[in-house]
């Protein structure tokens, strides 16, 4: 071997054994020489673009952390609006999904709580609007949305969600976000994406199924409202 690494034992030179390092002590010299050599070529402070990227990483993480810290507050707010735990969970998720996909819009240092509460309130209101006007949609637009039972919410970390989202195909992710986070109807999404409603529905199903698998939710039936919730959702609010 042309050299020995720090962790390998010294062994007597075999006939075809080459040495760049020699015995233990001299071995460090090669590393030192190589580092000396390369440090003359790549030295000094980090170039500006890398420093910038590092700063962006710091900011992205800070936003994550804040989102996590605010989730319980969001949940409390959602419960006060919905009066139903499951419904509140759905609402919080939709809100987190929206906030996550618009995270670049949020300026660090401004009031994230207010920003999140606004998103949640708007989601809630647009839900109500949709229920009032949803006549043709036979499947129930909101009821189809991302919905994880509250038992699973304990395991739901925003990071798992973002990682899981990343692994969806571009088409699937787009459909999921447009329908569940932006609250568009199937029609609107179909025309925006330029394909049939059936395609949109099957993409949505596949996206949900994939997310199920990735986030450890057992079966498809856990990943959606039960019959009772569906009928409740259809009831227009007084």
């Amino acid at each position: 071997m042309l050299f020995e690494t720090a962790g390998s034992r010294f062994s007597p030179a075999a006939a075809r054994d080459r040495t760049l390092c020699g015995s233990r002590g001299a071995g460090r010299d090669v590393s030192k020489l190589l580092r000396q050599y390369y440090d003359r070529r790549v030295s000094g402070p980090l170039p500006e673009n890398l420093t910038l990227l590092l700063a962006q990483l710091v900011e992205a993480e800070a936003k994550h952390r804040q989102l996590l810290e605010l989730t319980p507050h969001l949940k409390a707010f959602a419960i006060s609006l919905c009066h139903s735990l499951d419904h509140a969970d759905d609402l919080v998720q939709t809100t987190l999904l929206k906030a996550w996909s618009h995270r670049d819009d949020f300026v660090m240092g401004t009031n994230m709580k207010a920003w999140l509460f606004a998103i949640l309130r708007n989601s809630f209101l647009s839900e109500i609007r949709k229920r009032k006007y949803e006549v043709e949609d036979q499947d129930g637009g909101f009821a189809d949305c991302l919905s994880i039972p509250s038992a699973q919410l304990g395991h739901l970390m925003i990071m798992d969600l973002s990682k899981a989202l990343d692994s969806l195909s571009k088409d699937q992710r787009e459909v999921l976000i447009l329908i569940c986070a932006e609250g568009l109807s199937y029609d609107e999404v179909a025309s925006r994406c330029g394909c049939a409603i059936g395609t949109i529905k099957s993409r949505l199903n596949r996206a949900r199924a994939k997310l199920c698998g990735l986030m450890g939710v057992k079966g498809g039936h856990e990943f959606g409202p039960d019959q009772k919730e569906v009928s409740l959702a259809r009831t227009p609010l007084g």
Binding site: M1, L2, G7, V30, R35, R41, V42, L50, A60
Partner: protein, 292 residues
């Protein structure tokens, strides 16, 4: 205390930057930028179950392998000798070599970083060794004041895989052989009682041939006091393995020997004697000099 991804990554950026340059030349910084962008999009990509340094290198290599492992090393116009040496080593073997030789990872840690077994790491290091050795295998000229020792040196050199370009017993033979054989390295023995003829021969050889010179001697101060400034000075007794390392390093880095102008000053003599006495280890030149 849960550290952020940025906190885990930042301390390793300078060495990662150096590693990236060694791995992919001019594209080094671009590849590092790609890593940071990946982390911005998905901080979960950095494993928390590994020591941070290993996790960072592992992720970087994964990214690099996916993108550019098959591409040749993008070299700048002033790429030096080491870049040329490294460029001759293929993808994964190059990664293993640099992780070991440049970044000082143990074989076990390299196995973790490359997501493989230790046996595979050894195999890759062997491949890197042969590919590098192919480039540096040398014709070596021996300058020996003692004929008996010459035979020993010839055997040693050949066992290392190099060739003996010739063995000179005196100053004139040395100069003539050097001109004729144009060796890649000169290995000379300077005996304590000698008359400096070997040293003078070496100085004359350097007049016309730019070549690393390694001196083996019992009395390093004889050389330190002379006008000759070799690539390495090796004190007897020595381990053959150490000599091999010095020879291969000189060839790998294309180290130079040179001649100091004028006669050695008294102060120089005092210091070099003191230094030689203080060391019981094989004595190497304090600062090997690169020719580029």
């Amino acid at each position: 205390m849960n550290r952020t991804t940025a906190e885990l990554v930042e301390p390793h950026l300078p060495s990662l930057r150096r590693f990236s340059y060694a791995l992919s030349g001019e594209k080094g910084d671009a590849n590092l930028a790609a890593l940071l962008e990946l982390l911005i999009a998905s901080q979960g990509a950095l494993r928390r179950d590994l020591a941070p340094r290993k996790a960072v290198f592992q992720l970087f290599i994964e990214l690099w392998s996916a993108a550019s492992a098959k591409e040749p090393l993008a070299q700048s116009k002033d790429a030096g000798v080491v870049e040329t040496r490294i460029a001759a080593v293929g993808g994964r073997a190059r990664q293993a070599f640099l992780l070991a030789a440049l970044e000082d990872f143990s074989e076990r840690d390299i196995a973790v970083v490359l997501r493989t077994e230790v046996e595979e790491v050894r195999r890759l290091l062997d491949i890197a060794s042969s590919q590098i050795f192919e480039q540096i295998a040398a014709k070596i000229l021996l300058l020996e004041e003692d004929a008996l020792l010459t035979l020993d040196m010839e055997r040693l050199v050949e066992e290392m895989g190099h060739k003996v370009a010739g063995a000179a017993a005196n100053e004139w033979e040395a100069v003539i052989l050097a001109k004729r054989a144009k060796p890649d390295l000169v290995l000379m023995d300077v005996s304590p009682g000698g008359e400096n003829s070997a040293i003078e021969a070496a100085i004359e050889i350097l007049d016309t041939l730019k070549v690393p010179i390694i001196v083996i001697t019992e009395k390093p101060e004889r050389v330190a006091d002379s006008r000759l400034h070799p690539a390495f000075i090796m004190q007897k007794p020595f381990e053959p393995r150490d000599l091999e390392a010095m020879i291969n390093q000189s060839l790998f880095f294309e180290m130079s020997a040179s001649v100091r102008p004028g006669a050695a000053s008294p102060a120089l003599r005092r210091n070099s004697v003191r230094r030689a006495r203080a060391q019981r280890q094989p004595q190497f030149c304090a600062a090997p000099r690169f020719s580029s």
